[in-house]
């Protein structure tokens, strides 16, 4: 029994859960307000936008890539939607046109990323580092370098602020988005192929996986997620500009790292990444409630990343020692035992 407990806390999920327990215990002691419905909802709202982007980023990370352009992409998505919505006088048609145009641009951006990485064989890090500036430049051009402020309460406002059944719409969108992403990764042939591409690209080609097309689709999904997140964000904030989602890349990668996802590709899933996002969101919220000055919050965020990586490397070394990075479930062990008999 005690062996099982130590094993659990040595596993990636054990670590995540125990970190969460520690944070919750601290909050019970110091700030019971943490558990109010209002606060829980505000935590989820803060996570919702980055959660959507985390889903997109995860697809790209699983194939062993990265997309550093998501913050600029979100800003561009938000700006495009804002221009069309405001320009049309906040009509439904204007909103839809803006939305469609933004998604089309997102697909183009993802396509360019994917093609650069697969057909031209450039490293994703370099390609997306460059497009990060290209997209930011595009935002400055389309907004003339100024903020777009919104004041209307039409469809545009609804996207980020409606509360069907009392639940903020962004949270609902976030939950649906993660559910679909988890389904695609876990249950579809496309999802499986991403793990294979990340795990061994040469072998993937030899078992008939269309590695290039599937990689391009992953980059497109990542861009679309970023643009989509940006659109919800500008509706929530009622303003758009170059600074929209400017810290998205940090938050999204932090969530992925804290979620224990291997940046080298081939491993990881939505539950881990979303748990990472949740943990980071909860800690940020806790720091605010505990009255930690905002300057120190960044500091803590950095410490958390290093701590998470250290813990991760430490346990993966240990589990390498035990030769079981992915722990077989009890069921498989039982079947193994019976197979041996």
């Amino acid at each position: 029994m005690s062996n099982k407990v130590t094993k659990f806390f040595g596993s990636p999920w054990g670590q995540r859960v125990s970190l969460l327990i520690i944070v919750i215990l601290v909050m019970i002691l110091f700030q019971p307000k943490f558990f109010s419905l209002d606060n829980v909802s505000s935590i989820l709202l803060a996570i919702a936008i980055y959660g959507i982007m985390v889903c997109g980023m995860l697809f790209v990370v699983i194939i062993g890539g990265i997309d550093l352009s998501i913050a600029s992409a979100a800003a561009l998505g938000g700006s495009i939607l804002s221009i069309f919505a405001k320009g049309s006088g906040y009509t439904v048609e204007g909103f839809i046109t803006g939305f469609v145009v933004a998604i089309v641009v997102a697909i183009l951006v993802g396509l360019i990323h994917g093609v650069m990485c697969t057909i031209f064989g450039l490293p994703a890090f370099v390609v997306t580092l460059a497009t990060q500036y290209v997209l930011l430049g595009a935002v400055l051009v389309v907004t003339n370098g100024a903020y777009i402020y919104h004041s209307d309460f039409g469809v545009f406002y609804m996207l980020g602020n409606a509360r069907p059944l009392g639940i903020p719409l962004p949270i609902i969108i976030f939950l649906i988005y993660t559910a679909i992403s988890a389904f695609v990764l876990g249950c579809t042939t496309y999802g499986r192929s991403l793990y294979c591409i990340g795990g061994n690209p040469v072998a993937s080609g030899l078992v008939g996986i269309k590695t290039k097309i599937n990689t391009i689709i992953a980059y497109i999904f990542c861009s679309v997620s970023a643009f989509f997140g940006g659109m919800i964000l500008v509706s929530m904030n009622m303003m758009a500009g170059a600074a929209t989602a400017s810290n998205a890349i940090g938050s999204v990668l932090t969530a992925i790292i804290v979620g224990g996802i291997n940046l080298a590709g081939g491993e990881g899933g939505i539950p881990g990444a979303i748990f990472g996002a949740l943990l980071v969101g909860i800690i940020n919220n806790a720091l605010i409630l505990l009255g930690v000055p905002s300057d120190y919050q960044k500091f803590v965020q950095g410490v958390i990343i290093i701590g998470a990586i250290a813990l991760n490397v430490y346990t993966s070394r240990r589990s390498e020692n035990m030769k079981t990075p992915l722990k077989p479930s009890k069921k498989t062990l039982d079947s193994a035992q019976s197979a041996k008999l």
Binding site: G199, V207, K327, A336
Partner: protein, 503 residues
């Protein structure tokens, strides 16, 4: 007698996720002996070595070095106790010189600055003592495998190793190079260094070792002294079951409705003009030297390369240029280097087995978990994949079991054509026998099997017909009845059997 013991391990146990891998294993190595360690893949040899060298920690048991109980918890501990390992994948840095490599991480410093003179002097001293043919100032990059191995041995000696562990040291060496290595090993022994020698090649072990420990299923099944070693005895201890050596051709027939035809195939400058027909029900062996175009031929048939000339047809229909379409039409490939081209090391046995069968396991792109688990269980059972854990990452399995996973990936499908490229490289005798049996069964069902191999024994025993390639063309054809290993070897070097007789 007692003080002649260098290393003694008693009652070593080790489990991985509840599955015992070592069961009460003992090992004793004398000073100045060559001690061989044999066993099938998955018998626990590597695990035992990793425990002795501090890579893994044992669950229970004791290790003594020169009579004193020791705890080896890291590679550094092992080095301090005088144990060095020379792995199959060498750990040298190609851009550095011999001296730099040898003192890497343990440089001699004089007031904080590297004392290159002293390091060079010590390396020269070692080279002279052991009579190695090596220039201490050469860059390692310029060396072949054999010389690199010598540098590794020198490195071990510079750390005053009392025990050098060699894991399959000849697997990347030519015959002449292996011969030199044996001389080196004998020289080391004569100067008092102990060698623990792990190999699948029986001949080497008979020649070299003073004593031999045999492992099977995580247990030490016996220790033989030089006088007691006979091939039959070792095989019996290792395998614990009979291996069929002679091919049973009874009940075999040719399926004329499953024919692969290759006509005037050319590819870049490698394949010049290759034509042949292969029929269902026969195992076609393809021999030849590395670089003769064997691998490219197979890859062209599979659709992984585009031929520059010629046609490939299966039952009259041209073979597609798309791997995924070919797979759906019953093609399959077990590629040359399983680690880099065959399996997905971080993914589970399940994912590795099912990856090529989603056309059967998925509807509208959604995979059926139930069918997936069923298929995996069947593959694990039918092909005896060990350990039988669906979720075990394939990178953690032994070489033989990794190959079984790749075979399982294909054999669970309805195959028309199975292409194999060096399917048993680095796999031990017992698993080899099993793989051959799988091929034989498959062939009886009417699948066309084309197997490229450098292993003459494998070609002559397993294949019904053998085509030998030389310089991008088929040079000579043999049948199972008239083939000899010498003839294949001669043909591979461009000498016809008839001419060979005349020589």
């Amino acid at each position: 007698m007692e003080n002649n013991l260098l290393l003694q391990a008693i009652g070593i146990n080790k489990q991985f996720s509840g599955v015992p891998v070592l069961k009460d294993v003992g090992l004793s190595i004398n000073k100045g002996e060559v001690h061989a360690l044999m066993g099938e893949n998955g018998a626990g040899k590597s695990t035992l070595i990793k425990i002795i060298t501090g890579v893994y920690t044992k669950d229970s048991g004791e290790i003594f070095i020169e009579g004193k109980p020791v705890e080896i918890n890291s590679r550094q501990d092992a080095r301090n106790f005088g144990i060095s390992v020379i792995y199959q994948e060498l750990s040298l840095i190609p851009a550095l010189t011999v001296v730099d490599n040898i003192f890497l991480g343990q440089e001699i410093r004089h007031r904080g600055i590297l004392d290159k003179k002293e390091m060079r002097r010590r390396v020269k001293e070692l080279i002279e003592k052991y009579e190695f043919d090596i220039n201490p100032d050469a860059i390692v990059q310029s060396f072949g495998m054999a010389k690199r191995q010598l540098v590794e041995i020198l490195k071990a000696l510079s750390m005053e190793a009392k025990l050098i562990i060699m894991d399959e040291p000849t697997s990347a060496l030519s015959a002449a190079e292996s011969e030199k290595l044996f001389e080196t090993i004998s020289g080391l022994r004569d100067k008092g260094t102990s060698i623990l020698y792990i190999s699948h090649r029986l001949e080497e072990v008979y020649r070299l070792s003073d004593r031999l420990t045999v492992m099977r299923d995580g247990e030490n099944v016996g220790v033989l002294t030089k006088e007691e070693i006979t091939p039959a005895k070792v095989m019996r201890m290792m395998i614990g079951r009979e291996v069929k050596q002679i091919k049973d051709t009874s009940g075999k027939k040719i399926f004329n409705d499953n024919v692969l035809e290759v006509k005037n195939l050319a590819y870049k400058n490698i394949l010049k003009d290759v034509s042949f027909k292969a029929y269902g029900g026969e195992i076609l062996g393809i021999g030849g030297l590395v670089g003769s175009g064997r691998t490219e031929l197979i890859r062209c048939i599979y659709g992984a390369e585009k031929q520059s000339k010629g046609t490939i047809t299966l039952n009259g229909k041209p073979v597609k240029k798309s791997i995924s379409k070919n797979i759906r039409n019953g093609f399959s490939l077990v590629p040359e280097d399983r680690r880099s081209q065959g399996f997905f090391p971080v993914l589970s046995i399940e994912k590795n087995v099912t990856i090529a069968s989603y056309d059967k396991l998925a509807k509208f792109g959604v995979v059926s978990r139930k069918k997936e688990i069923e298929l995996t269980k069947k593959a694990i059972k039918d092909y005896d994949i060990r350990p039988p854990l669906r979720n075990m990452p394939v990178g953690n399995l032994s070489g033989g079991n990794q190959q079984k996973v790749i075979l399982g990936r294909w054999l669970t499908r309805d195959l028309k054509v199975l292409l194999l490229d060096e399917p048993t490289a680095g796999i031990d005798v017992g698993v080899k026998g099993e793989l051959y049996q799988f091929l034989e069964e498959l062939s009886k069902k009417g699948t066309i099997i084309i197997m490229v191999s450098s292993d003459l024994g494998e070609l002559t025993h397993v294949a019904d017909r053998i085509l030998v390639m030389h310089d991008g063309r088929f040079f000579e054809e043999f049948t199972h009845e008239n083939v000899t290993q010498t003839a294949v070897l001669l043909a591979a070097s461009g000498v016809h059997t008839e001419e060979g007789k005349a020589l």
